[in-house]
Amino acid sequence: MKIKSLTIALLAILVILALTGCGQNSNNASSSGNGNENATNGKVKLKMWYWNGAISDSTIEAAKAKFPNIDLQAEKLPSGGDFLTKLKTTITGGGSGPDIVTMDSWISTMLSYNEKFVNLYDQGARDIQSQYLDWKWKMGATSDDKYLIALPIDVAPVVLYYRSDLFKKAGVASTPEEFKTQVKTWDDYFNLLKKVKDETGSQSGTVVDIFRSLLGQIDQSFFDLDGKYIGDQAHIKSAWDSSVKAYQAGLTFPFSSDSEKNAAMNNGKISSFSGASWAVGDVIAAAPDTKGKWNIAYPPGGVGNQGGSFMGILKSSKYPKEAYEVIKFLVSPENLIAGYKDFGNYPSTPEIYTKPEMVNENAFFGNQDLSTVFADAAKDVKVAHTDTRDDMVFNEITKALGSVDAQKKDSEKAWKDAQEQIKRQLSR
């Protein structure tokens, strides 16, 4: 009988251990706050979540070397919506999540929950503020600028990608300098596209691509500061109308999947499009046959931004001080150059734009130095107020815009239907 109860007791312990994941550190109160007292291995353990292409792996190695007292565990997760979902579940669940997290342009949705993040201003972030682009910095801070949840990593300035050979053939502006002086507005660009199309039969990106670029250039988005819906107003409608105009003039490539678009680019059917800095890699991968024929230029209609990421610290972290030191190092100007070299993430620190290390002459782009154009396009970006419901509105509007092309829907009716649909969604 005794043996039997012993068996049961042992089994119970085993089950409990298995369920609680046995290895959990039982950090007591005294060890928190000062990492050096951590009894397990004398090192401060910091877990970091990022996605491929957010921060260069060589930079992470450099951080490990620089902070020998920190055990930096960098975990690469799938990017996009999955990352956001995982982050949200972790924050909501309240379990032991990562210390350092990477955030994308959806950082604005996290700002309303700023209390879940460490206020980096308390850690001394004011001291390094001047190194970063002002507009980018503000995206990680609350509107009263008292709470900063993340430091900027890269920006994604929008430029015009174009086939200089085809543009030259059409006898229109074909050097970056000519573009900057001659193609100032979208109408200038459309007029020029018309000639290029007549001469070479090639088109611009899809109607939705144009709309997205136009949207990135205005300082208002779908909701105002009070959360009131303004996506049915003139600023959005005029972007819609311009895109439709380009479509009706036959200047846009038919709405299609990425693989179709890539094929069109490689076949010379798409001769220009406006896209963010990270599209460099996309063009090179999509259109290998057109090597050396591309160039980039200052975009029509002014500067804009699409994407660009941040790094913050969760409130649940036991070592906010050490974590701050790590992220400060990871996003320091020198280290952002590595990310730029590795995958075209354009740094958010203007002081290095003119440095010789930044010169980026790319054979695919006829040895043009891409950095000067990006630097030009990264300054003075106007940032629109973002809202958690932006995705929904953007999806509905672009879906309707796409149906104007794909299903030949009347553009006014498509606009009206989309607005009705959005208002119904917002009504609940």
């Binding site: 089950v15 999947s257 999806n395 879906k399 609940r428």
Partner: protein, 294 residues
């Protein structure tokens, strides 16, 4: 009841041994299911606080034209894919099972292969085959002097492409199931029919089909459940917000509401409605196919 508990207490060591499964099941299956009922009556963005909204989520859903459109798309794709596919699967199984066919093992594997192919890869291949501009099929159509077909610009086209993917993937799977059912039918029934001078069609309809009824019920049920859970094909093919008509299924609708628009409560409500629909159709199937089963 007391007797049962006593029995359990008596063999408590054994129950302790199997308890990890039940504890995990409670934590990771039962709790989420119950929580999702609770969630379906709330509005929640995933981080902030939940607010109770009563039946609003359901009310909104039944008045949302997108929901009904998703339902229509889903039923259309399901019928387009599974009807012809199950008939073909039965024919294939019947042919493989014929005594004159050699290399049965080879055919079994060959037909089953599509089922283990990564779904995303399949979708990408189909996407490039049916592409509007540079699709393989349009390439051949043009070579033959015919007009290109803009597959993705009409709801019928999109549904046909998705249905083809599903049929391609599950044809072999169902054929294998039918084949095992066919092999269970006693040979002497066929020999007797042969002696009586029955034609091939007669043996098929009078012996094979009735003997296979339970297997057919199983495959129809599985296809129904699968058919209402179509997700990867339209998601990869058309994305979350494409203007391609006819591609949105209920699970895609639910996914987008939950994980893209952050309406978790609403998505939970959709999942429960989906659960009820699948349940009803399964019962209907059961009644139809099991009518005269004694």
């Amino acid at each position: 009841m007391g007797g049962l508990l006593k029995e359990i207490y008596k063999s408590r060591t054994l129950y302790l041994f199997i308890s990890p499964f039940y504890i995990l099941f409670l934590v990771f299956s039962v709790f989420p299911i119950i929580f999702s009922i609770y969630l379906s009556f709330h509005k929640w963005d995933g981080i902030g606080s939940m607010s109770s909204v009563g039946f609003n989520n359901f009310n909104y859903m039944f008045h949302d034209p997108n929901f009904w459109q998703a339902m229509i798309n889903n039923i259309a794709i399901w019928l387009l894919a599974n009807g012809p596919m199950l008939v073909c699967a039965l024919v294939i199984a019947y042919v493989i099972n014929l005594s004159i066919v050699k290399f049965k093992g080879f055919f079994r594997i060959a037909f089953f292969l599509p089922n283990i192919t990564a779904m995303v890869a399949v979708v990408i291949i189909f996407q490039s085959m049916f592409g509007n501009e540079y699709g393989l099929i349009n390439f051949f159509l043009e070579k033959l002097g015919l007009d290109k077909i803009a597959w993705f610009n009409s709801s019928t086209g999109v549904r046909v492409v998705i249905a083809l993917m599903i049929a391609w993937r599950y044809l072999g799977y169902n054929a294998i199931i039918y084949l095992s059912g066919l092999q269970r039918i006693p040979k002497d029934l066929y020999e007797a029919a042969n002696l009586d001078g029955a034609t091939m069609f007669q043996t098929f309809t009078k012996i094979t089909l009735p003997m296979l009824r339970s297997i057919i019920l199983f495959s129809v049920m599985m296809s129904t459940i699968g058919g209402f859970q179509i997700f990867t094909e339209p998601q990869v093919l058309a994305g979350n917000q494409s203007p391609y008509p006819g591609s949105e299924t209920i699970v895609l609708y639910m996914f987008r509401e939950g994980f893209v628009y952050q309406n978790y409560g609403y998505a939970a409500a959709v999942s429960w409605v989906l659960f009820v629909i699948i349940g009803l159709i399964s019962v209907l199937n059961w009644k139809l196919f099991n009518k005269s089963d004694d």
